[in-house]
């Protein structure tokens, strides 16, 4: 069955440079590796942020990858669930806060 998303494709991510612009791909991966190293934030915090963002951008590859990575960085189910709820809250909040714009507009044009 053909689908746009295929779990096997995640393994090919590292070879994206084969498409072209290999130098840019390599720079991206070097940068990517640096980003996730322990710094002011721990590796676990970064992994959970990545998981939350993955849910916000709804990337199935990143969700799979960072669900596993979070566990391998010592997170448990509650931490993972809370990270996802942060994403949900921000997405929901971002919609709702636009309600202010609607509210303003409605006020502008109503008596």
């Amino acid at each position: 069955m053909n689908t746009y998303y295929n779990p096997e494709d995640l393994k090919k991510f590292g070879k994206i440079g084969e498409l072209g612009a290999n130098e840019l791909a390599q720079k991206f991966f070097a940068y990517y590796g640096e980003v996730f190293k322990e710094g002011a934030l721990s590796e676990r915090e970064k992994s959970l942020i990545a998981l939350a963002v993955a849910h916000a951008v709804q990337c199935p590859y990143c969700i799979d990858a960072y669900a596993v990575d979070s566990l391998e960085k010592g997170a448990d189910e509650d931490m993972i669930a809370e990270a996802i709820h942060v994403s949900v809250a921000i997405r929901g909040g971002a919609s709702l806060v636009h309600g202010v714009q609607a509210m303003n507009k409605v006020k502008d044009i109503t008596m």
Binding site: S42, E43, R44, V68, L71, E72, G74, D76, E77
Partner: protein, 352 residues
Amino acid sequence: MKTTKSLKARGEQLSDTMVQLRVLNGKEIMEEQFPLFADKLKNIQLFPLQPTGIDIFQVNVGKMCNQVCAHCHVDAGPDRKEIMTKASLERCLEILSKTDIKTVDITGGAPEMNPHFRWFVEECSKLGKKIIDRCNLTIILANPKYHDLPEFFAKHQVEVVSSLPYYSEKRTDSQRGEGVFEKSIKALQMLNAVGYGQEGTGLTLNLVYNPSGAFLPPGQSSLEADFKRQLKRKYEIEFNSLFAITNLPISRFLDYLIQSGNYEVYMEKLVNAFNPVAAQNVMCRNTISVSWDGYLYDCDFNQMLELKVASPKVQHIDDFDIEALNKRSIVLNQHCYGCTAGAGSSCGGETV
């Protein structure tokens, strides 16, 4: 998946070690073949793998256990009756008295269920050996006759090494059985009460983390800090070190991997995480493992796969010969990838 019986008692084909080895080599149940572990060692000039000596004498005193953990590499449980006899334990003591092997590492099953356990510890103590007991914690509460184990351990300065897969109930119980977390916490508090894990007492309490599923363990030091903080905050528990251990794809964990559809992905993960430095430091290089019936193995995993040491004339405690054993080549197979992934894994945790 709740396990209440060993693979053996359930009559599962995987309880046959030949079947396990065939699975690992893509010849039965699973078709996927992975690069040979031995070839990986050849690439780094580490083949044949040889011991550096024998520092640790690990005795598996029996497969009987009060728990039936889902990942158990021993396939232990209450239904397993294999127990080391006093005669074999005596033979082990004789070996220990005649060699300068410093550490006796007692494991099982629940080693304390061997009726000669206390006597054996006392005798090892008289020999001045460092004694490690791999205690599953819940045994301490399983029966009044075990309630004084903490005092007994303290008396003989036994280093206690205990599994606690996580500082939460859900994770612990999903791997080790319902109610195990609560009992483990109680047992840890009892050990603390007699001085274990407390500064200045010299009584060492180490915990073992291993993943409750098909993933690799986190870095040991950051996890240790988490465990220390959380166990202290929630339960006033203290301990010395945390060992992060990788689950090897054998026995009940192999069964779990196959049943849950995670086998290929997990093996691939182990193979991709092969670390040459960890390979240098695998525990079989300084350990000898003895089974309940007195046979010798390179490690507890090889023991559970029935891969005896490759020194044909010395395969049993009755023929123990340290010189000959030091010249042996270690028996390797695909499960060995579990010891060399990432930061490495041994009975003492990370190896890198």
